[in-house]
């Protein structure tokens, strides 16, 4: 970039002319002000992470991952094993639903086009902005009223939250795949469908996986839609999606707003666990996207 010129002191570019002291002071002051603003943002992040880590480590132990909460929430001990397992199951099913549909929809938008696809593209952006509590209310009306509270209802709600994110990430990646790859494949006589499946998608795969990981990270942190669909099962380990299930986020929420010190201690450990899990997904996503970037030729 030709910005290297920007870094030299302006006064050096035109000998004999330099800005007044007042202007230079203002420049310095504003630089400091902006730096302070950045420092505040970073400080808030460190504050949140440090506080959660401090409180969470007080209680975190291997037993936390293998035990369920005690019968009486006011007593210490136990852990969030049921919530962690529940999160993995519910988000896993949500991914199974949203990833194929999302990739397919993105393929339709980018590869095929047309009015339906254009509408889908616009609506994807709209869906990103739907409050997750509204998604939960929708699934309640659609599913829970007929089939009861269940992990499956929660998965459907989370799938709706993940879907637009997967579509967007996939669409971005598909657009980056060079046209000549598709043309070469067509020239070889490969059918359109085969081209997409065997050439385009694999080329975009790392980016798509990145998008999926980020969507999963987002879904793991969601609480609001699950309040209205999965409802939670504080005490017992439940692995059947047709029953009420707990997730890490629901357990943290329930225990955080309870007045029991013991429950709050567990909630801090749970919050720390959740942040670690979400960070793992987010960091892996970035690592994957770094490893294989599509370059324009």
């Amino acid at each position: 970039m030709a910005t290297s010129m920007l870094r030299r002191h302006p006064g050096q570019q035109q000998p004999g002319y330099s800005p007044s002291a007042a202007r230079r002071t203002r420049d310095r002051v504003m630089t400091i002000v902006l730096a302070v603003v950045v420092a505040i943002a970073v400080a808030v992040l460190v504050w949140v992470l440090a506080y959660v880590a401090a409180q969470g480590f007080k209680y975190l132990s291997p037993a936390f991952f293998t035990h369920t909460p005690p019968g009486n929430p006011a007593s210490y001990g136990g852990g969030y094993a049921n919530g962690i397992v529940g999160s993995l199951i519910i988000v896993g099913i949500a991914a199974l639903i949203s990833v194929p549909v999302g990739i397919a929809a993105a393929v339709a938008i980018i590869e095929y086009g047309g009015r339906l696809a254009a509408a889908a593209s616009f609506i994807t952006d709209v869906l990103v902005g739907v409050p997750t509590i509204v998604t939960g209310a929708f699934i309640y009306a659609l599913w829970v009223i007929h089939f009861g509270f269940s992990g499956l209802a929660g998965s459907i709600a989370l799938a709706l939250v993940m879907l637009p994110l997967v579509i967007r990430a996939t669409a971005e990646m598909l657009r980056l795949v060079p046209v000549h790859l598709r043309e070469a494949s067509a020239a070889l006589g490969v059918s359109r469908a085969r081209t997409i499946v065997s050439v385009v998608l694999p080329t975009a795969s790392s980016g798509i996986i990145t998008g999926v990981f980020l969507a999963v990270a987002r879904a793991m942190g969601e609480t609001a839609p699950l309040l209205l669909t999965a409802l939670g099962d504080q005490q017992f380990m439940q692995v059947h999606p047709t029953q009420r299930m707990s997730t890490l986020s629901l357990q943290i929420f329930t225990d955080a707003i309870s007045g029991f010190q013991a429950a709050q201690a567990r909630a801090w450990a749970g919050a720390l666990t959740l942040i670690i899990i979400v960070s793992l997904f987010a960091i892996s996503a970035r690592l994957i996207s770094r490893r294989a970037t599509i370059t324009r030729s």
């Binding site: 730096a35 709706l160 793991m220």
Partner: protein
């Protein structure tokens, strides 16, 4: 614009193979377009279901009566009574807008500042790490923010707010807006948490917008002898104004929909609008989260669906407006 590949198999006599390939192609295409159709259906279904579930209440009380009252008192509802509407929702709209505006008033100037710093002042090696650090804020789940808000933020806010209620709260006329007592849970606390949650999105957009300033305009400003701050102020900011507004609108949309962190720190006072920003209140999202699974009074659940419907409407309007505003700047497709 996306380029589409030429259709395969330009006739060379292997008709049978072509026909089978075309059939496979058709099925595949249909499947992909079905998925796209599903996306459209989902949004349509959401709108339809929300409206159908709200219809009984809308018909019983009249659709406009919800917006005409700020008193939410499910215990007043009777199966036959139609007026006054015990489910007035104005205070929830007020709460949603107030907390979001407080959040934006804090977040937007900060985001602009951070964006300017990252694109204009920070050395090249610092840019990406700084961006990632701010983005990390977006990865923290809402429930963790709410939890931290109760135990770390509120105690830290107490002295600050005591000072504000003691000074601003005493000013005649507008003092009521800043009056105590402050019990920790309040619109203001929720606004601050929203500011933190919205900051990464607005910052990322501001960064992108500032980065699109043509280098020669910046160089021209510097060549004219401007200091770096003056260059940012005259070459970068004015042309980014529309983009900043777009980013703010998108941040507003995000703040509207935020549920859990707000529910944990706003105090859940659903009765009516409370004047002071330091008093307890409720937002559209928080009242749904709190009352949904136990709404047994007549038309209670239906009225909560009315709240959900309105929340969806205002979120969509704001998000689409923001997207259009930003799209003009970024010029991208999706």
């Amino acid at each position: 614009m996306t380029a589409r590949p030429a259709s395969p198999g330009a006739g060379n006599g292997r008709v049978l193979l072509q026909r089978r390939r075309r059939y496979g192609d058709t099925v595949f295409r249909a499947a992909m377009l079905t998925a796209a159709g599903l996306v459209v259906v989902v949004l349509a279904a959401m709108a339809v279901f929300l409206v159908t579930q709200s219809l009984p209440a809308l018909r019983h009380y009249g659709p406009l009566s919800f917006l005409g009252s700020d008193r939410w008192a499910p215990s007043d509802a009777t199966p036959a009574g139609t007026s006054p509407n015990p489910y007035g929702i104005v205070q929830f709209i007020y709460g949603t807008v107030l907390t979001s505006v407080i959040g934006l008033l804090i977040a937007v100037p900060m985001s602009v500042g951070i964006g300017l710093f990252i694109t204009g002042i920070a050395p090249a090696w610092l840019r990406r790490p700084l961006s990632y650090v701010v983005d990390l804020l977006a990865a923290i789940p809402s429930v963790v923010f709410g939890f931290w808000g109760i135990f770390a933020l509120i105690p830290a806010l107490q002295p600050v707010v005591s000072f504000l209620t003691g000074t601003l709260g005493k000013i005649p006329v507008i003092g009521g807006v800043f009056a105590g007592p402050f019990f920790g849970l309040s619109y203001f606390t929720a606004g601050i948490i929203l500011a933190i949650m919205v900051l990464p999105i607005v910052t990322a957009l501001c960064r992108e917008i500032f980065a699109t300033t043509p280098a020669d305009e910046k160089e021209a400003a510097l060549a004219l002898g401007m200091t770096r701050w003056e260059m940012l102020r005259t070459a970068v900011l004015p042309r980014s104004r529309a983009g900043i507004i777009g980013a703010s609108i998108l941040g507003l949309g995000r703040a509207f929909g935020e549920t859990i962190a707000v529910t944990m720190v706003i105090g859940n006072n659903v009765l009516s609008i409370t004047k002071s920003i330091f008093s307890t209140g409720a937002t559209m999202a928080s009242v749904i989260a709190n009352e949904f699974t136990e709404a047994t009074e007549p038309f209670h659940l239906d009225s909560l669906f009315v709240v959900a419907m309105w929340l969806l409407i205002i979120s969509l309007i704001v998000n689409v407006a923001g997207k259009l505003a930003v799209r003009r700047i970024r010029g991208d497709l999706a």
